[in-house]
């Protein structure tokens, strides 16, 4: 196994393990405020120190991992769930369906996820669900394009034409022959969008458009740490490192998977 892929698996695995463990155990209760313990430096008692409310940073990072991963995962699900069928449709029906899908995609591309979140929040108020919707909507054209690109090249191949001659409909061919052959492409893109989703969620929570108190989130931990960064740099450093490690891990995982799933790329890069 390539070192990059191994590092990616470890880093992403740690984030996932932290998120899953937080469902059953955290070193401290993240809703418990102990003002007497505020801004403690890392110690045996609090591995990563405490924040301005005396909450344990390690525990908050664990629960924050859950928020980040859940938001990014559902957003990828929305992107794939809508984008992939649209991409398959566009590739299978050149003409109006293709044109309509692609122009619709162009329109969504003009709305960066931050702008979608701003629009939603202005009317419905901030929440983690809004962050999911905003990032999810932005993922749709990404998956539609990747799917369409991959599927278009397959539609010219002989075995797809044979399936057509055999009387299979376009929808059935898309599901039975095209989709399995672009699955690798989608898995790799899914990993990339997953890591971008974590960055986007952190950004949205940082500016107050994402997860709301008392739900811990890495982005909001950084926002709260901003005014205390001179007093206790650790409150700003650890959440940032958590984001970097998770995103780096997912990117390395995506690159490694792409190489592993497509042997032609091993030598091309």
């Amino acid at each position: 196994m390539r070192p990059g892929l191994a590092i990616g698996i470890v880093l992403a695995g740690v984030a996932l393990a932290a998120a899953l463990t937080s469902l059953v155990w955290t070193p401290y209760d993240v809703t418990e405020l102990v003002i007497s313990q505020k801004l403690q430096a890392p110690s045996a008692l609090h591995w990563l120190g405490t924040d301005h409310f005396g909450r344990d940073i390690a525990a908050m990072l664990m629960v924050g991992a859950r928020t980040s991963l859940a938001v990014a995962l559902v957003a990828v699900g929305i992107g794939m769930g809508i984008g992939v069928p649209l991409g398959l449709l566009a590739a299978s029906k050149p003409g109006w369906a293709d044109e309509l899908t692609m122009r619709g995609n162009d329109l969504i591309f003009a709305f960066p996820s931050l702008v979608i979140a701003i629009l939603i929040t202005a009317v419905f108020g901030p929440s983690a669900v809004n962050a999911i919707i905003a990032i999810g909507i932005f993922n749709i054209p990404v998956f539609a394009r990747v799917t369409r690109g991959g599927a278009l090249s397959l539609w010219t191949l002989d075995y797809i034409r044979s399936a057509q001659v055999a009387g299979k409909g376009r929808a059935r061919i898309s599901l039975e022959h095209v989709l399995p052959n672009i699955a690798n492409l989608l898995i790799v893109q899914g990993t990339i969008q997953f890591s971008l989703g974590i960055l986007a969620e952190a950004g949205l929570s940082y500016v107050g458009l994402g997860a709301q108190p008392p739900l811990p989130s890495w982005g909001r931990m950084l926002a709260e740490a901003q005014t205390m960064v001179t007093l206790a740099p650790h409150v700003a450093i650890f959440p940032g490192l958590a984001i970097v490690a998770t995103v780096l891990g997912l990117n390395l995982l995506g690159d490694g998977l792409r190489d592993a799933l497509d042997p032609r790329l091993r030598h091309a890069r």
Binding site: L107, F109, V123, V207, A225, V229, T230, I243, V244, L248
Partner: protein, 314 residues
Amino acid sequence: MARYLLRRLLSLAASLVAASLVIFAVIEVVPGDPAAYMLGMNAAPDTVAALRESLGLNVSLPARYANWLGGMLVGDFGISYTYKVPVADLVADRLLISLPLAGLALVLSTAIALPIGLLAAARRGRWPDYAVMGGTQLGIAVPNFWFAMLLVLAFALHWRIFPAGGFPGWDAPLMALRALALPAVALALPQAAILARVLRSALIETLGQDYIRTARAKGLTGAQALTRHALRNAMIPVLTILGMQFSFLLAGAIIIENVFYIPGLGRLIFQAITQRDLIVVESVVMILVFAVILVTFLTDLAYAAVDPRLRTRG
């Protein structure tokens, strides 16, 4: 080229109309009565009625949309409900900070990415390449607002070279540039990492082409072939990323402005959201989307300039 330009212009206009319809629907139709929404639950009915009148909400939806769109075309974005001044003036003041910030970051990210992308491609498979690839992989993973906080910690609070935040205004240009330096670096570095990687892989692909071999056979050095022939041909993917980066930088600037307390578009829009000033939100979002669509349009034109074959395609 004229036909290509006309087709692209029509597409630009259609995108703008579609985007304006989406924004209008979300801001003016979804909340039901925007005036009641903006004033909150405890507002007196006559206050709501007065605001409805001043916002021009007493006409039909299509007429309201036409008024809004027509107003924007002549630079009239309405009056801010909280600031009581024309939104166009508010936005123009803030754009004078946000646009230079995004532009500065774009220049900086290109200036960083070009040499390191070239270096990595020229030394492919050797330690400079590995260093650039490792460094850029890390750069992509760093959230710019966290990087901004670290920059403040190091260069503003520890070494006191740059201010930690605020903006003195353009009356003192040097001070203003100094205030934008750290935000621009924070915005630029992650984007530079992406750009350098794209440039490297585009160059490597180009370097494998026959015409590069021919150029080398004619006596050009590796560096000459790289800068004179490969670089120009690797520009298409680089331009794509540059076009996309401008919109990321503009959106990123909104977040970074919050780290440095810079009174740009970002601060304006978040204040407007808190104060439920939907007119300001609607206008700023439309301007941001307009910027993204315009940059995409300009990128398309740049493609056609770099690669004449594209003019005949869609």
